[in-house]
Symmetry: C2
Subunit: 220 residues, 2 copies
Amino acid sequence: MNLSLYVITDRTCQGKRSMEETAEEVIRGGATVLQYREKAPLSTRILCEEVIQLRRITMQHRVLFFVNDRVDLALACGADGVHLGDEDLPVPIARRIAPDLLIGASCDSVESALRAQEEGADYLGVGPVYVTATKPDAGEAVGTGLLAEVKNAVTIPVVAIGGITPENVPEVLQSGVDGVAVIQAVVGSPSPRSQAARFRKLLNTKSLCTSLPRNKEKHL
Amino acid sequence: MNLSLYVITDRTCQGKRSMEETAEEVIRGGATVLQYREKAPLSTRILCEEVIQLRRITMQHRVLFFVNDRVDLALACGADGVHLGDEDLPVPIARRIAPDLLIGASCDSVESALRAQEEGADYLGVGPVYVTATKPDAGEAVGTGLLAEVKNAVTIPVVAIGGITPENVPEVLQSGVDGVAVIQAVVGSPSPRSQAARFRKLLNTKSLCTSLPRNKEKHL
């Protein structure tokens, strides 16, 4: 499971590009994971059509695909997994109703990280590392210090998220995390593809591939 | 599967009563099915907590419980099934990802009813029979004529929905449907319990219990 460059979709900052075009671009640039996150009040039918398109694209490029929040949509499109935050289904419930999905969990402390791991999460998204405009409700920046603490405390992969740019990637990587999650810095860039490539190059300075969780060999 | 009095929740018309209190009242009045339908943009976590409460209440009273739209929530709380409209997951996808859930589908024509049956729906909600204020996007009233046509065309149970009141129940029942779905007329009444009882009495003039679909003996 290569979580090194984890790109999250965001309709509000993708400009005139379609969701599919944006996905293609960031994957061609080097994204290893795509997460579909949609906060607009769209119908389940429309969301379903969209995740099916993105699943097709990610499958074609052999890139991991996660759906934010919605286990139903992750199952509907055959995604690799679901990413769960504080306002989504609790990890144990998601694990019970979708035993074959990979589960990512958002954390902002060592305690919440250990709890998510204990509850069965397959990886953690920790942040916001820096202050970020994309997710105003994300809470106070946790800094890179917490990344290292969480990384030392858990055995599952850790992805840093929140305000990560090519400039601060080296500092983030020093914490030992397995990958960085980006939205604005890639999807909101004039050229998502070259920006993803820029991130990927910085990330390749370190081997970031982590081993597969459990028996989930179907996942990349 | 007794679908005779199918009550749908609606936070906007339940007044000062809580969701749980309203559910208890309508069930004590005689509802045979409760459907949770929530159109407000609440988080999945909050919706999940609510369906778990309603599942507890419906289980206690041995009443069928359906969740509108969200297969994830239906699975999370162990509901009997999910009800799907045009803007929700397509029936075949829901059937694939949740083989053990009962599936209801909204229809407004004989064609859509036959298609839903063919796709694996366990019952149909047909309407709006009359014009209704609760669901302004529900389309034009189909009238009771269509209820009889659908009932003759399909083998699965048919529930009439849309603008049904104690006054028009006798006309609706003449079409041969297996039950009536109500929102405003019960949940929006000053006394949901006595109003549910009033409906139930009118419905009891006819035996409306239909046989269990497929091998779903776990369902009531």
